[in-house]
Subunit: 130 residues, 4 copies
């Protein structure tokens, strides 16, 4: 499992870790039941304070994506959406609008945005098949 953290990045280290774990789960690189690296182990590996890892793991656990067993480690949970249908569409639309806005700000056009999504989606597809 590949994790890369950049402490100079504006986005908080613990958030970077959360994002990457989510992505690994979303693409299937991490499957339910898989064990994640121990807090201290990963802290040494990526050279950040164990508390920072702990924070990310706790947040992921709160989100129901992973669960921890004291003395045993941290594991990927069975994913089960707990959100109502309305809430899911609400969040999807909000995320999409925010995403499009961000890319327009970067100077892309609407066509380019859709092209980019299509291109990256194909890459996700390939990752899933591995």
């Amino acid at each position: 499992m590949l994790i890369h953290l950049d402490p100079t990045n504006r986005v908080p280290v613990y958030q970077q870790l959360i994002n990457q774990v989510k992505r690994h789960i979303a693409t299937g690189t991490l499957k339910p039941g898989d064990r994640l690296p121990a807090v201290r182990e990963l802290a040494l590996l990526v050279l950040v304070n164990p508390n920072t890892i702990q924070k990310a793991y706790t947040d992921l656990a709160d989100a129901g994506l992973i669960h921890s067993r004291k003395g045993q480690g941290v594991f990927v949970s069975e994913l089960r959406s707990t959100l109502s249908k309305d809430e899911r569409t609400r969040r999807s639309v909000e995320a999409t609008d925010q995403y499009i806005t961000d890319l327009l700000m970067l100077g892309l056009g609407l066509d380019e945005v859709q092209g980019l999504v299509a291109a990256r989606a194909r890459r996700f597809e390939r990752e899933e098949k591995r």
Copy 2:
């Protein structure tokens, strides 16, 4: 020039202001030489702490998008690209991957994601034409 700031939103008020000014410049609502509202004036208008407006204006000036002339006000500068092409690409790809991941975690499929982007993009298109 329309400015709408939402203090409830998780993105910082000063950042919202920066984004909107950038967007106005990008879409041509604001052209080089145009005068922006004075700090205090805008603060009263949108009911925000003048420090917040000042912060946004300073950042925009640092980015070379606007400049102030003592005693005269704040003006839109001649355009020059603020980010390198590589950097723009890097950020676009990162944002896209994160966006796709988030929607996969919400339970959508890759097809649905692309459909949603297309649908919302059409809505953005209509807004631009107004």
Copy 3:
């Protein structure tokens, strides 16, 4: 707003705080829009480390019960259930079974449990009316 924390209690301090804030919201002692004490202020008041308060506030924010605005403070959010109907009933039933089991373990009978719930519910009702 009354907060009482007991560091000798087995349940973590930050969890005690979460529970009490939840109760205040549930009973209406805290209403949407109300401001909570500042992190440092409350830390001094109840004599715990500010980080402990921060942790509780963060968790409550993640649960959507409160939201924070940097530089302004922490506020009670509009409550909006984000859970699906199925998930809500599932959790209700699970909580109820766990609760009944706990009280049976304490030596109460099923009649006594129902009587106790009725009695405390009446007290909640009175708190709400204030």
Copy 4:
């Protein structure tokens, strides 16, 4: 004697075991003088680390509910109330208030809470009669 341990559950395995032994004693499935399974035997049976079983047995012995005779095994002791009446009441009330708060936060009304308790209590009643 039926023991079911769920390592996934957030409540510690040794605590689950304690709870179930207590419950068996409370409901009369286990009577004073009855012999409990040996540590190693039970560990194999429920697929749990023997240390965990040992920890539960030690705690139960400390609480005066069981005692071990060297070379003979572990036995249920004569019953004596382990908590003072006041302490039991205090804990019952606290658990009840927390329970009600949790269900209010889930969006249920006080009436619904009482109805739910009644419904689940009836189910507990049926289980006891078996």
